[in-house]
């Protein structure tokens, strides 16, 4: 643990560097850290993926269950995203029910998948109004070194592409599982791109040290046709409109790069 004085000096240096278009770890302002993606790491889950973004590490597991549809969309399967910031991932994470950060993380990832219609939920309906598949996406943060949203969204997409749904038949109103699997019907590939604003400059993929000094943060989720499908400003500061439009341009480009890592791989 570094002393507060050293920490403050380092922060000052980081901010100064960013003004000059440089970062402490020698990345450019719009460079991502190295991303490593492993799929199928949890055999017992219907889908899974582990993403490392620098030292940030997120494991996503997907379980398929059976349940009732929501009454306003009786012919659609159910999507539910949950995030856990388990305490081994960071000294600042506490055991217990999800706090506002975990809830925000889950909801931002959820929004990208839902709004881009990434999963064809109508194909997950078994008996309209009665029985549908439930897709449980669990985001499990194993090590926290900044930018959990992008790592989680990437892992969630990789896991979805890797998810199998068991075959079934309906006999006398009861669902019976049959041997074999189908792929989950995926039709879009949303990618989250997060910007931190430091010294009034934007940097992508902030690491923990950058998050600690950033004024504020913006996540843009971009779908396969370059449409924006989710936004989330988070943190205390503010953005100017020019910054947001600039971010949108960069996000499209970064999303395309990241998407290649998981789609058709």
């Amino acid at each position: 643990m570094t002393s507060p004085v050293v920490a403050r000096m380092k922060q000052k240096r980081m901010a100064d560097l960013i003004s000059l278009g440089k970062r402490l770890d020698e990345r450019g302002l719009t460079d991502y850290r190295e991303a490593q993606i492993e799929i199928g790491v949890i055999e017992k889950a219907e889908g899974s993926a582990r993403v490392r973004l620098g030292k940030t590490e997120v494991l996503v597991g997907i379980k398929i269950g059976l349940g009732e549809p929501f009454s306003d969309v009786p012919n659609q399967g159910v999507l539910t995203v949950n995030a856990e910031l388990v305490p081994l991932a960071s000294p600042t994470f506490e055991p217990g029910p999800p706090g506002e950060d975990a809830i925000e993380l889950a909801r931002v990832v959820d929004r990208g998948i839902r709004e881009s219609k990434a999963i064809d939920l109508e194909k997950l309906c078994i008996t309209p109004g009665k029985k549908v598949f439930i897709v449980f996406i669990d985001l499990y943060v194993l090590n926290y070194d900044g930018n959990l949203i992008d790592a989680s969204a990437l892992a969630a997409l990789a896991a979805l592409l890797n998810t199998k749904v068991f075959n079934y038949e309906v006999k006398e109103g009861e669902v019976q599982i049959k041997p074999g699997y189908k792929s989950l019907p995926i039709r879009n590939y949303p990618i989250a791109v997060t910007f931190a604003k430091i010294n009034d400059k934007l940097v992508v993929d902030p690491c923990l040290e950058e998050e600690q000094v950033m004024e504020t943060r913006l996540t843009m989720t971009i779908e396969k046709d370059e449409k924006v499908c989710a936004l989330q400003k988070s943190g205390k500061g503010y953005f100017r409109i020019q910054q947001i439009l600039e971010a949108a341009k960069i996000a499209r480009q970064k999303a395309a790069e990241l998407r290649k890592l998981v789609v058709k791989k």
Binding site: E100, I103, R107, T216, L218, E223, K227, V228, S234, I241
Partner: protein
């Protein structure tokens, strides 16, 4: 299964189902200082939304370990009355409530001189009495007035408004029906004098052009609301002055 035919929410003449033009706000009513106990309060009606905001503080923080050495701790609770929506809502906070409480609190952080009141807290309580789409923006609009009413020094008022896409058109200030049946909703909070966007979220899909258009429209909405906020404060201020004069008369 045949797709159900959706009746258009916006017609060919670009008139919305509630009679508004594409870039028209819903009717807004603002009242300041309407609660007896809160240090500051405000009430907003925006369409069928009915929302109360109350502010307590700056005051001592409980529990004490939450006090910040260099500034006031801003806290915010966005809460919906059980009867505010179609199906009764459980009074326990939902995940949505928790997220909104967070982003609304963060929308105010840049507006408040929190550094004037170290080791204290400023608590913003928002009660949605009736919800009809766009409650987070209306809540921010009201709560900013409540902060001003509490006498808390502000860099600027925060005004909030959504734009979105419905039936292919970019529209301002979506109501519940438009939010549910539309293609995108983009709520935004703004400090007009400082050109600072303090809340920005989006659901839906927008192309790059639509996105820019929607942001600009939302900003326009914020600017209109900013004027209404100032009028509401002025009305309260005048009222207070009149009351003071009355008080003087009585003496």
């Amino acid at each position: 299964m045949p797709k159900k035919k959706v009746k258009k929410v916006v017609n060919k003449e670009n008139i919305r189902h509630d009679g508004r033009k594409l870039s028209e706000l819903r009717p807004i009513k603002l009242e300041v200082g309407i609660l007896g106990n809160a240090d500051g309060s405000a009430y907003i009606e925006q369409g069928k939304n009915k929302i109360l905001a109350g502010v307590y503080g700056p005051k001592e923080v409980h529990p004490k370990h939450l006090a910040l050495p260099d500034r006031s701790r801003l806290r915010c609770r966005y809460h919906m009355a059980p009867f505010s929506v179609q199906e009764r809502k459980s009074p326990a906070p939902s995940r949505r409530d928790i997220e909104l409480s967070k982003v609304i609190r963060e929308a105010f952080e840049p507006s408040v001189f929190t550094e004037y009141y170290p080791k204290t807290s400023i608590d913003i309580f928002i009660e949605v009495l009736q919800a009809d789409g766009g409650t987070r923006c209306a809540s921010i609009t009201a709560a900013s007035l409540a902060l001003a009413d509490a006498g808390i020094p502000l860099r600027d008022l925060v005004s909030a408004c959504a734009a979105g896409k419905v039936d292919g058109r970019i529209v301002l200030d979506l109501n519940d029906k438009e939010d549910k049946e539309g293609e995108a909703d983009l709520p935004l909070a703004y400090m007009s004098n400082l050109n600072a966007i303090t809340l920005l979220q989006m659901d839906g899909m927008l192309t790059s052009e639509e996105f820019e258009q929607a942001i600009n429209l939302a900003l326009e909405g914020c600017n209109q609301i900013y004027q209404l906020q100032k009028e509401a404060l002025k009305a309260k201020y005048v009222e207070v002055k009149e009351t003071m004069n009355e008080g003087a008369d009585e003496q």
